[in-house]
Symmetry: D2
Subunit: 379 residues, 4 copies
């Protein structure tokens, strides 16, 4: 009954109580290009079915596990088959599940970190290419209009040659748990089996790293990192700083924490060039600060015609009407939709598997640097 | 095929190019309780059909005009019939269209101003009551979590007895048009036939008025207003200030402008009591400032457990992840959904016809005050 | 022993415990053009002498009362005589004391309000002119570099023709006292004998009024005001709003309060023109916001070469090193010094007796408007 | 003629055109405890005398060089002799001049960096102790009331055990010069003969380091630093980051730059503990942010009774009346005055020679770390 125009979306994970699933679903709805059709909403099939019912989904498209999902959907005629699969499971399932759905020819939106290791990430990148599928990675913050404006202004030379980069991602949410071994045990992100090799760097530092490369257009070549587990019997990092140098010799740093008590989601990026600088903070996402040596500071805001076309296309609303995180993610979904439909899209429209590889290289380099006693390690 | 659980939504107006329609549609999608089914998307049926196609809607539910909409939908069995109609037309059509759909028994979400006159507003209020329908009015800003927190804190006595109220709604968007008669002629909000008795007070001042009553829990009893058309040959106000007193004698003021050059959507509300004060600004919607005589200023932010239940229920996301205007409107739609489904809902969940009556009383009192040479006029 | 170059300064009032005296003394020291020589520091001579000793002043220049001050100083040779007298007494003494010292030929820096009535203010203005003395009025906020920059930009046409003015001066300091008659009795500013006809308008509203005229270059022609004593048995206003129109028809408003609970010294001025707008807030005094229809908002900060010469001359320090209230007052003292020494000075260098007359006209017009039931009253 | 109560102040350096001298002189005047008597204002005696005349100083106390200053002042009877000498010369003269005046028994206020090397710094510390003189070091930012409040709150346990420290000092002033060898040659701070071993770390990083130790009460034990000269033919650092660990194992970092284009004087300190966090920024010096896991953010502002006694004593003015950099320095001068007069003073009242030693240890450790290829170096 539905026309073929809407993209059929499936979810893997992201059932009842999943915060990140709310973000993905809303993001998919916002641009009116996706239709949520089915998925594997929970490891517990009954729970998954109840969730599907709560969303009025067709239970015949609700599957108990990934295998039956792939089998069931692949059996459907192409015009009915789910086209994009969003992988919203805990970290340790990203890689195996992505591998399966890519191999089966589904396009993917994957939560980060893409994998546990660089080797796995390269595998995903190769598979996505071999299967000719669209692969989007949920580095949501790249979807903010002012982040995109920052990228465009740098590409246009508005700050000249970059000479210093400083990115931060500070949260405090682990503080209430970290000091008590029992409470700590209840935090899955601190469990290497669930979370991977890193907690803080892999969960938030990787976002800051991604923003640095996304915005600056430069590649981080080498890092020196000092990370902190705070307690000896805590296995994963909850804080860390990585000094870095880009391929062309620019120095910078990435600061990440989950024990910055009281911080909510304090991401900031400052990039200084020889002609100017740009600064942005996620908790005040509608303001982009442009500094120069000799002019008053300028504040760019979304929705205005002075912004780049890419930034303008990333805003749905008149100036002064705040958009937020859902809107940022919606811009990623919109980019994926264009790619799936073979429409033109901006190279910055959504991060992909290559960004996932870069991210894992960063995480592994940071860990290696720290293990080595804070030494320089190339990505 | 769709289960009966989702609320079937229709739009009147809000077709191609409508900014406000984007806000309503996204708001409806966000809570996953509405399904857009059909409507009258444009005065031009072809355009309306193209719009419906672009959204993959069933063209059999796309109607050329309101009469055919009412006839067509009413002919459908109740479980298929559209349940809520959002009226998104230009101002002059709000009243006649709302009247028709209410009389036909449809629930309504109506853009503001609800009507052109108090008499019409009272008519809508009576009709909605007589037809026992749910009527929501799009005073979107009441949907912000921190606006709701402000209301709850005042109700809980956190600022004591209110002694001063100051609300502002400053925009600058008319400045580029107002100084040139030709450009001005292209602005429908400046045309009394389209816009009503007032431009600035009716379009933005009314929001500030609504926030004052919504947040404070007080009723404005009398106003004294000075409004400005800027040019003699401009028929409608583009700026104005209304001094007011509430029924219990509190003094306050509402400041509105559309010629505050460079302002985007600068709404603010400050309410001072004998024990404390609360201040909020729409362009930084995630911060609520709580001031007292002798304690450090406190900044309340959404998503935190220190907020009231109502404010918490109005946030979908963890602290530090900004929500914006769509989310505010989504909270109104969520409230309407609960009312339509006979679920419990908070009295502040969405503004209704009574608020529309209050708004029109405010507009008429302001205009009368100004016409009389800035004299006190009771609402 | 001292050379004749430094200006000999005397104080009337401003002895031990006087907050405002600290501001004046520091302001005088800052520019290194004044030498504090003596004065009448207290109504209690012993207390005044102790104060003089604490500052290592020559007790022979410490006088028991104004008469002996005038007699004593006038008897000294001109090169030793005090040249500028700062009048820092409670309000009710401003007029009689200013009258005496002006008549005796001393230059004056006078705290505001200059007098209790317009008639007295005109008397001071005439006397100052007749005696050919320099008269500075302590409208301190005109001394902030960014206030001066705002004035200069408006004069240079940067915002075009002014079309809207909004000024605010909100404090909350009376809240802890106002609700209890006994506590209230201890507040001299609420006593008409000490404070004059008005508390809130005369103390803080007058500053906002002064800033409006100082910055805009326009004259307020007529006002309509609603003021509030909060309690019937409280004699003086603690809150009030004045709508106004300038001579050339610009509408604006001045909002003042001392019961805006929790507000410290929240002064703001926003001036909107047809080409742009400028906004400034006293509690963030180093930021001047420049808004236009179509460009990013610009933030002007002190000490930068993009500022006007007048603003640059009003800063002593490199950009990013905050100056504050003392520095603003120091700029007034510096202006008075130039006038006393017959050096060139900017017409905005310090407010004078004419500003005092304007201020009293504003206060009287506001009070008359309110007494008349909120009617328009010309200044 | 002057009583003995005021402290007689002399300056070494700081004549015509010296920005830092303005800060010191105003700071000395503000508390009304110093009298500027004489000094060596310039390497050019004629220029020094003209400067003295411009300030109406007694030319008999204006000296051509330090030797004659020491000889001349030492020959005066103690009650007339200069008591405190402020050393305001370029960096390379701090050590030799401080050595001479300390050895001659004068109390000192010295600009930072105190010396070029740790060895020299230890020499100064020893000399100051041996000669029993008061030695103040111009780490001006420790004088801000909210910095002091931050220190007191941490000492009181308000944030619990510290677990993360992040300090920044970003300026952009070298950007206009650094890219052109000729322009660069005109910047004395880039000349090792004038400036010492380091430009950025020694000039601004050292302030951030000092704030970290001053506020946290912890000692930095070891650093790992990456510094940048930007150009190979530029001899001194203009940017650098130092990771550090305190003696009790807290990780932190200090970020410094003079090529952060467009930054004016952007100093910030954030200290996170297990019970809360405190954040402060120099360009908005009147706001101290207090964050916790579960309460609204609190903003502390100067002049309020909720502040510590030390912070309150560091403010001269009512809340909401901004103080700035001069006021911070004035608090240091006030502390030195108390020490000179053997009055009680708070241990945080002014930094001393021990802080100078710490600072030089930091600079040398940073440089050694960088030379070694970014390795850990103990202080």
């Amino acid at each position: 009954m539905m026309s073929s125009k809407k993209i059929r979306l499936g979810l893997i994970g992201g059932g009842s109580g999943s915060f990140i699933s709310v973000v993905h679903r809303i993001a998919a709805y916002m641009g009116e290009r996706y239709e949520l059709v089915g998925g594997v909403f929970s490891a517990d099939f009954d729970s998954g079915k109840r969730f599907a019912e709560s969303l009025n989904l067709d239970l015949s498209r609700t599957y108990p596990d990934l295998e039956s999902f792939v089998r069931g959907e692949s059996a459907l005629p192409v015009p009915e088959r789910i086209e994009v699969v969003s992988i919203l499971t805990p970290n340790f399932l990203h890689y195996p599940m992505a591998k399966k759905v890519i191999s089966a020819g589904f396009n993917v939106v994957c939560e980060k970190p893409m994998t546990f290791t660089v080797a796995e990430a390269l595998d995903i990148e190769r598979l996505a290419s071999d299967n000719n599928i669209v692969f989007g990675l949920a580095h949501t913050y790249t979807g903010y209009p002012m982040v995109r404006q920052m990228r465009e202004m740098i590409a246009a030379g508005d700050i000249g040659k970059i000479q210093k980069i400083d990115a931060q991602y500070y949260q405090g949410w682990i503080n209430p748990f970290i000091h008590d071994a029992e409470k700590r045990a209840g935090v899955w992100r601190l469990d290497p089996q669930m979370s991977g090799q890193s907690c803080c760097i892999g969960d938030v530092g990787i976002h800051a790293f991604n923003l640095v490369e996304y915005i600056s257009g430069l590649e981080v070549a080498t890092v020196l990192a000092d990370i902190d587990t705070l307690y000896e019997d805590n296995l994963l990092d909850v804080d860390g700083t990585a000094l870095f140098r880009t391929g062309n010799g620019v120095r910078g740093l990435i600061r990440a924490s989950q024990i910055a008590t009281g911080e909510e989601n304090n991401i900031s990026v400052a990039i200084y060039g020889d002609k100017g600088a740009l600064k942005w903070q996620q908790e005040a996402p509608t303001e982009l600060h442009y500094l120069t040596d000799d002019q008053p500071r300028r504040i760019y805001k979304p929705g205005n015609s002075y912004n780049s076309e890419f930034a303008q296309d990333s805003t749905k609303i008149a100036p002064g009407h705040p958009e937020g995180l859902f809107d940022a993610m919606a811009n990623l979904y919109s980019g994926v939709a264009k790619a799936v439909r073979n429409e033109n899209f901006h190279p910055g429209a959504f991060p992909g598997a290559a960004d996932g590889v870069r991210g894992m290289k960063f995480v592994e380099a940071v860990l290696a640097s720290n293990r080595g006693g804070q030494v320089w390690v190339d990505l």
